[in-house]
């Protein structure tokens, strides 16, 4: 047998892109379980339908682009996009909403830019924002948590998705909505008067956030990403919340703990902000990137028009990532601090 010629290195580590993606999928499982527990089967139906649409969109785009289907589909990146978007969507979303969101994410935000690795914006968040702007009603009706009215059955969940006209679900304002609309009550009173609030954040929400935190910690342990961006985001969000807590007055922006465990905070910090493709690459850059997302999340939550803000904050910072990269090049071995020789 003739000897083959290859360039060094000849050894390769165990990590693969497929494994990275699979790990991310796996890490969302605790959060999905908690969401299902508190809000019913809606999230699961979202995921099921969303994944199918995502794979179909990805396959279609690959076919149009004349790329080998198997090779690209098995990197699991379309599934990750589907999971991230479907977790963020309200449970019991109609099928067309999910389809539009997924199609926008995969076709517009990802494949039009050249597919995996070439997209400047986080596809899931781009899809989410397109839906939020186009269908604000559907996008802001969240199901009531466990213990607040009857929990829909699996059949009802499927009905809600596929025959949305025949399903009349109950919705309820999320804790972030309630806080946003409050302008007269002290935080303490608000807490007592609204059943959505739980131990330190919203009922269900606090547990979902903890579950996503756990999943994120596991990914960190697996060295899928570094701690810099998520920690920077959480720290800057907490700092701002602490700064403007105002002792829990009626003008308060909410406590740091409330912000950390409400809405998409943990999910965003560990699953969205850490998206390698669209974030800054140097470690210092990731600190800045994460911190600015945290700050934007707080500003939009408290001062903006939308109750939650992770998607907008992330998209805005996606714009800034290349700029941050440019100014945060690490000091190369043998160079002085200013990057000069």
């Amino acid at each position: 047998m003739a000897l083959i010629r290859l360039t060094s290195p000849h050894a390769h580590g165990p990590m693969s892109t497929q494994r990275v993606m699979q790990n991310v999928l796996l890490a969302t499982v605790p959060g999905i379980i908690v969401l299902t527990h508190f809000f019913g089967y809606g999230t699961l139906v979202n995921l099921l339908w969303g994944s199918l649409v995502a794979l179909a969109c990805e396959a279609l785009a690959l076919k149009l682009r004349r790329r080998p289907l198997g090779f690209y589909l098995k990197d699991c990146s379309a599934l990750v996009t589907a999971f991230l978007l479907c977790i963020a969507l309200p449970p019991y979303s109609p099928w067309w909403l999910i389809a539009i969101g997924i199609a926008s994410a995969i076709l517009l935000a990802k494949q039009l830019y050249g597919g995996l690795g070439y997209n400047p914006f986080n596809p899931a968040m781009a899809g989410y924002v397109i839906l939020l702007i186009s269908f604000p009603v559907q996008m802001t009706s969240w199901a009531p948590p466990l213990g607040q009215g009857e929990m829909p059955s699996l059949l009802q969940a499927l009905q809600a998705c596929f025959t949305p006209g025949q399903y009349d679900g109950v919705t309820m304002a999320t804790p972030l909505d309630v806080l946003k609309q409050n302008n007269s009550l002290l935080i303490e009173d608000l807490w007592q008067q609204n059943p959505q609030f739980g131990l330190f954040a919203g009922v269900g929400w606090e547990w979902a956030n903890l579950a996503f935190l756990a999943g994120g910690a596991w990914l960190l342990y697996q060295r899928i990403f570094t701690w810099h961006a998520p920690v920077a985001m959480l720290v800057s969000l907490s700092l701002l919340a602490a700064l403007f807590y105002d002792g829990g007055s009626s003008a308060s922006g909410g406590s740091p703990l409330f912000h950390l465990f409400s809405g998409a905070t943990m999910f965003g910090a560990f699953f969205i902000v850490t998206d390698p493709v669209t974030s800054a690459v140097s470690l210092r850059g990731r600190l800045i990137y994460g911190a600015l997302i945290g700050a934007l999340v707080y500003v939009i939550r408290v001062r903006g028009n939308y109750p939650d803000a992770v998607a907008f904050a992330v998209l805005i910072m996606n714009f800034a990532a290349p700029f941050i990269d440019y100014y945060t090049q690490p000091r190369t071995y043998g160079h002085s601090k200013r990057g000069e020789k």
Partner: protein
């Protein structure tokens, strides 16, 4: 324990070192043929000093160093030079290069050689020269001539001498077994190096995955003042720059040499070779090579002669060619694939790795970069490999340089961790080569641009000088004219008229003669000058025996003729001037007057003619013109001129005929009247 420092990045690939250290170093013996490439080091290849058929003894120099960055080659055993020809060598490109082929006689007979155990009485430069003559080049893989490394610029203070026993590449154990078995030789070699360099401290750096080697070294260093430093295993701590940072905390400036931070590094293998050369007078003719990988049955280390074909060594280790798809010289991280199993081992062959497909699988096709940043975390040079990859793909060379591409040591850590299997290092290598080529091209273009501009400048200067001279002459002339006018104190307008008149007059008459005289004189002077220059050139050419002598000779002759003619013309003119000052012809200024008079007379004559006579004259003229035109037309036709011309002539004929008939009528009328 000594404090060690960390370095950024690094990876922990499976070490796979245990396979080849189970047995002591084995002597590979003498193969049937030895192929010694002339270039086994960085720098100029050595020059052959033997002839085909010549019998050489073991250790005899067969090729000598050519210049500073070069080392000689020696016969690895006694035998006959059977060929000096191009053979395929161990190089990533698989190219053929000049080699000396030696057929051993089996006697393995040493040339007389004497060591210098008393090296401390030797001059340091002489010692460096001795090392150079022993053909020692860095045996860790790069093959940098050791003597060059030891020739530290005078005035540079070396704080630390580092003996590099890191051997961080997986699989390779050549240095490890040297430490285990020949620690005393390493220490002796280190002492020699210490004597040459005179550092404040001498350290031997070893990764903590070689406890046996460290123990052996520690035992041998007892009381020598040489310190064995152990530090955590991490690839690539054995890179010179990384090792320096680990042991001293200092970083070698980008593009600089270790000596700039007061450090000199030598490899373990080179240190042993230096010991052999100095103490025993034996040149570098063999080395320890690890033969390993799952495709050999008995992985082990061999003491192999330089020039031994790889096949010979592999077969000694139980090579199973059916299991092996790629043969790597060096380790799995930085080694390169060998084009053919018959290429010889050289001074830098620390390892032959024959892996099976399971052991080192052929990499799957690369996926897209997801910018995960694992490469940046692994990079020991703190580069941003994913950005470099991006720029390399887009051939954005400026950005590549801005992102310090040239600080990449090609260790392969980034490719190792890349989840998308992107051959990053290959992109960097290609880009580096391209940029270097561009730099060379640019330098060339720059040189020719400078040459061109210098020439242009020269020409312009010459032109400007001429222009200046011209302007000066003009100015002087004006000044003369002005001063002449000013002297006479006349009205300027009057003066101008007078000047113009004078100029007009100068065209004829006395003024004209004056200028003609001047011109003739000038012609003589310039011819004289030209003759002088031509003669001088001819003399010069003759003195230099130039080929141009003949050509110049004809030139001189011609110029001489011209001079003679100019002189003749001048004399003739002067004579004419002298003879007939009064016999000058009437000034032609009156010619116009005469013409006017003639024309007037003609008109008067015409006026005096009767109408009939006038008409007759007109008719005669027209007839004459017609005749002429018809003649031309006939000629044109016979010449086969262009149709246009013929047509034009025909129309002229027609017109003239018309005119003639009109004139005849007029004449008729006039006569009737």
């Amino acid at each position: 324990m000594r404090k060690t420092y960390g370095f950024h990045g690094g990876i922990h690939p499976p070490e796979n070192k245990h396979q080849s250290v189970r047995t002591p170093i084995a002597d590979a013996g003498i193969p049937p043929e030895l192929v010694i490439p002339l270039s086994q080091h960085i720098g100029t290849p050595a020059g052959v000093i033997v002839e085909i058929g010549e019998h050489v003894l073991k250790g005899q120099m067969i090729a000598e160093a050519q210049g500073f960055m070069s080392v000689p080659k020696h016969a690895p055993t006694s035998g006959t030079i059977s060929a000096i020809e191009d053979r395929q060598i161990a190089h990533p490109s698989g190219h053929f290069a000049p080699c000396i082929v030696l057929t051993p006689d089996g006697r393995d007979e040493w040339i007389a050689c004497s060591g210098r155990p008393d090296y401390e009485s030797m001059d340091k430069l002489a010692l460096i020269d001795l090392i150079r003559h022993a053909g020692i080049a860095g045996m860790g893989g790069a093959g940098f001539p050791s003597s060059v490394k030891l020739s530290v610029k005078p005035g540079t203070e070396i704080e630390t001498l580092i003996i590099n026993g890191t051997e961080c590449e997986p699989y390779i154990t050549a240095d490890d077994v040297l430490m285990r078995e020949r620690a005393d030789q390493i220490i002796e070699g280190a002492k020699i190096l210490r004597y040459i360099i005179g550092p404040r401290e001498t350290l031997i750096g070893v990764e903590d995955n070689k406890p046996e080697g460290i123990a052996a070294l520690r035992a041998a260093t007892e009381g020598s003042g040489i310190e064995v430093v152990q530090f955590p295993t991490k690839y690539p701590s054995g890179g010179e720059k990384q090792l320096i940072e680990i042991l001293t905390g200092k970083q070698v400036p980008s593009g600089g040499l270790p000596s700039q931070v007061g450090v000199v590094c030598q490899n373990i293998g080179s240190t042993v070779a230096i010991y052999q050369a100095v103490v025993h007078g034996r040149p570098l003719i063999s080395r320890v090579t690890t033969v390993t990988g799952a495709a050999v049955r008995e992985p082990q280390n061999f003491q192999a002669l330089i020039g031994t074909p790889m096949r010979y060594l592999l077969e000694k280790a139980g090579y199973q060619p059916e299991k092996n798809r790629r043969l790597i010289m060096g380790g799995p991280m930085m080694g390169f694939t060998v084009p053919d199993i018959d290429v010889p081992i050289v001074k830098t062959t620390n390892c032959l790795l024959a892996p099976t497909e399971d052991e080192l699988p052929t990499p799957p096709p690369a996926q897209a970069c997801i910018r995960c940043g694992m490469c940046a975390e692994a990079c020991p040079a703190s580069l941003l490999p994913q950005q470099l990859f991006w720029f390399a793909q887009g051939k954005e060379f400026e950005k590549l340089e801005h992102h310090n591409l040239f600080d990449c040591i090609e260790c392969g850590a980034c490719s190792y961790v890349c989840p998308s299997n992107i051959p990053l290092v290959q992109y960097y290598r290609a880009s580096k080569a391209e940029i270097l080529q561009m730099r060379r091209d640019h330098e060339k273009a720059e040189a020719s641009r400078i040459r061109f501009e210098a020439r242009q400048h020269r020409l312009e200067q010459a032109e400007a000088e001429k222009e200046a001279k011209r302007a000066a002459r003009k100015k002087a002339a004006e000044k003369r004219a002005q001063s002449a006018g000013a002297d006479s104190g006349e009205d300027p307008i009057q003066a101008a008229i007078a000047r113009a008149q004078a100029k007009k007059a100068a065209q004829h008459g006395a003024g004209g003669e004056q200028s003609e005289l001047e011109m003739l004189e000038k012609a003589v002077v310039s011819a004289q000058k030209r003759l002088d220059t031509a003669t001088a050139k001819l003399e010069e050419a003759r003195s230099q025996n130039s080929d141009l002598v003949d050509a110049l000779q004809t030139g001189v002759d011609k110029t001489r003729d011209k001079l003679a003619k100019a002189e003749q013309a001048l004399t003739a003119y002067q004579q004419a001037q002298g003879e007939g000052g009064a016999a000058q012809s009437e000034p032609p200024a009156d010619a116009a007057k005469a013409a006017i008079e003639k024309a007037l007379a003609k008109r008067q004559a015409e006026a005096s003619l009767s109408p009939a006579e006038k008409a007759r004259a007109d008719l005669a003229k027209l007839q004459q013109r017609l005749q002429k035109t018809e003649a031309t037309l006939a000629q044109s036709r016979s010449n086969g001129d262009e149709e246009k011309v013929i047509e034009a002539l025909e129309s002229t004929v027609a017109r003239l005929t018309g005119k003639i008939s009109a004139a005849e009528q007029q004449l008729q009328q006039a006569e009737d009247a």
